[in-house]
């Protein structure tokens, strides 16, 4: 218990940094896919952005996979239709990757 608390504490500032980094990267990817400047927050979903259809989704997904060197499974794709869900999943994936590297 003591040990895990320390880990959480240690991670907190990193977590904030990571979220910011992910959000910035997503804004870059979205702006590229939709060919216009796009500002994102956790509440944005496919209904808020015009043209966010399945094709755009695949483009976004593949760009994220390339940028962060992670892979999404078929069952996870459902969560990728809003930014909040997308960021949560990405955090898990990035952490998994970092742990495996250690």
């Amino acid at each position: 218990m003591y040990y895990s608390n320390i880990t959480t504490l240690k991670l907190k500032p990193n977590l904030y940094k990571m979220e910011k980094k992910i959000l910035l990267a997503l804004e870059k990817i979205f702006s590229k896919v939709f060919e216009k400047k796009i500002k994102l927050n956790k509440n944005v979903s496919s209904s808020n952005i015009e043209g966010w259809d399945s094709l755009a989704n695949l483009n976004i997904l593949m760009a994220i996979e390339k940028e962060f060197d992670i892979q999404f499974n078929l069952s996870e794709i459902e969560n990728l239709k809003n930014i909040g869900g997308m960021m949560e999943l990405m955090k898990i994936k990035i952490n998994e990757k970092t742990r495996n590297r250690r």
Binding site: S54, L55, L58, M62, L74
Partner: protein
């Protein structure tokens, strides 16, 4: 041509290919316009006429079939149905959309449920890909060889099942660029001027080392890895030769030594594989000038391969239009480097292409024969020539298109045509005729093509082209006279031809003089049939087949 229009009939998310496709064309200053189609049931939707697509006027239609969609895949139809569908598809594309058809074949299945036993689906894929290859020649469509490119890059790298299940796109992110490049190459190779001749150096190009330094011990045995790489390169060149690319040698070597090489084991060439063998210690650019003159070819249609920087530089300075790739010093990379230039990428092979080297060599025999005659008329007579005239049909269509688009010297206005434009000439009041020349050395193949339109009082020749191989044999007068006699029904008919002089078609000046062509307007020249009647040319037996 600065704009290309394409459409997809696909049950994959082809839209993912768009960005890369547009980029590849843009790199060559071509704008690509892609017609928006929905996810397609190729079997049913592909055969229905889409009027919007017809209006869009596509140059190419790409068919992409995904076996994952079992009810919409061509591959999973019965065998007879497959052929029917492909036949109908090619007819619809050709006649309704006046477009060229590209059909993607299938990649192999990644999985082997029964280990080494061939799985049912893999056998189906192999059979279908073979069928597609076979039908592509008779139905005149291009095969987008997904099987080949997926094998080169590896199926694991190329495919992504998640994308397939979730987004109807069976390929990985990395495959997108590769597939787009392949589609681009098929289309681009139809637009560009393809290379016709490779002039090769010998030492360190066709074999390792310098043969002149140790003739007695020279060998091309398979024990030596470098030999094997050079032999593979020889085989690659031979394959090009069999596909209609001419080969010639220009080397600073002794003819006696080189004649020995043709007897050496594992040297893949015969002397007759080369249209010209120039062995001399003269300057290379001067020797190459001789070859070009002999074959009657423009330097822009020639690729020169030599390991020496010095030789490449001097040839490049004399012939800035010639393509002179640096294949480097490592023979294991020669094929890959040359292949990537796509100089010889070709979708169709005409009968004339296959026997080009033989035809050129027969031409040399004709020239030798000519030297034995003092009187040119006697020489022409001895050739026992005959001209067969054909209307445009399926078997000569591609050769005619090739002649119209590739001929640069005997070409009245250098108007290049798409397949669709030529097809349009099959209609009423329009004509396309081509001529095959046969002589005692064999057939020269289809060597001339002439097309235009006519009404009761007017006959207008839009363009007329002839292969430079048969110049100065009076074929042109016989062919023109034959066609005009056939088409002109009244003495009052006005006959005209579109003629635009350019730096390449200077050879037509004599013809213009002999036929006394008179300028009308807008590059149109008037042909006086009486002048042709009276002109004293060598008469050749000519008939319509």
């Amino acid at each position: 041509m600065n704009k290309i229009k394409i459409a997809f009939f696909a049950n994959i998310a082809y839209q993912l290919l768009e960005k890369d496709l547009i980029r590849f064309f843009k790199e060559h200053n071509i704008t690509l316009e892609i017609f928006k189609t929905n996810f397609n049931n190729i079997v049913s939707d592909g055969l229905k006429i889409n009027h919007n697509l017809k209006k869009f006027n596509p140059d190419f239609i790409v068919v992409f079939d995904n076996i994952h969609y079992k009810d919409t895949s061509i591959l999973l139809c019965s065998n007879n149905n497959k052929i029917n569908i492909l036949e109908n598809l090619s007819l619809v594309v050709k006649n309704e959309y006046k477009s060229k058809l590209i059909i993607a074949n299938h990649f192999q299945n990644q999985f082997r449920p029964s280990g080494n036993l061939n799985t049912n689906i893999n056998l189906k894929v192999k059979k279908f890909n073979n069928l597609l290859k076979k039908l592509s020649n008779t139905l005149n469509f291009f095969v987008l060889d997904i099987d080949f490119i997926s094998n080169i890059h590896g199926l694991k790298y190329f495919l992504n099942s998640r994308n397939n299940y979730a987004y109807t796109f069976p390929f990985s992110l990395e495959a997108i660029e590769i597939i787009s490049k392949e589609i681009f190459l098929i289309i681009f190779s139809e637009l560009i001027n393809k290379k016709k001749l490779i002039i090769l150096d010998l030492d360190n190009t066709l074999w390792p080392g310098v043969i002149g330094e140790d003739v007695e011990n020279f060998s091309l045995s398979y024990d030596n890895p470098a030999n094997r790489a050079f032999i593979d390169f020889q085989e690659y060149l031979l394959e090009l030769k069999n596909n209609g690319i001419m080969l010639a040698i220009s080397s600073k070597n002794n003819p006696t030594i080189i004649s020995k090489i043709f007897k050496i084991k594992n040297f893949k060439f015969k002397k007759s594989d080369f249209v010209s063998i120039n062995l001399s210690f003269n300057r290379k650019d001067l020797e190459i000038k001789k070859i070009i003159k002999k074959i009657n070819i423009h330097p822009k249609d020639v690729v020169f391969i030599d390991d020496s920087d010095f030789e490449r530089d001097i040839v490049s300075a004399t012939f800035p239009d010639m393509h002179i790739p640096d294949l480097g010093r490592n023979p294991e990379n020669f094929i890959q480097i040359l292949d990537e230039y796509c100089y010889f990428y070709s979708n169709f092979r005409t009968a004339e292409d296959k026997s080009k080297t033989e035809m050129i060599l027969a031409n040399s025999k004709r020239k030798n024969l000519k030297n034995n005659f003092i009187n040119y008329h006697d020489y022409l007579k001895s050739l026992k020539m005959e001209i067969k005239v054909y209307e445009l049909n399926d078997s000569n269509f591609h050769r005619c298109l090739q002649l119209i688009n590739k001929t640069s010297q005997f070409n009245f206005n250098k108007y290049t045509m798409t397949e669709r434009e030529l097809l349009d000439y099959k209609s009423k009041n329009r004509f396309v005729y081509c001529a095959e020349l046969i002589d005692k050395y064999g057939s020269n193949g289809i060597i001339s093509c002439l097309y235009g339109d006519f009404t009761s009082n007017n006959l207008s020749i839009k363009n007329w082209v002839m292969s430079c191989r048969v110049f100065k044999r009076d074929v042109e007068y016989n062919f023109l006279f034959f066609i005009l006699k056939k088409l002109v029904t009244s003495n009052k008919s006005k006959i005209s031809i579109q003629y635009k002089e350019n730096q390449y078609n200077t050879i037509l000046k004599d013809l213009k003089k002999h036929l006394q062509l008179k300028y009308l307007s807008n590059s149109k020249y008037f042909i006086n049939l009486n002048v042709l009647f009276e002109y004293n040319y060598f008469k050749i037996k000519t008939k319509l087949i």
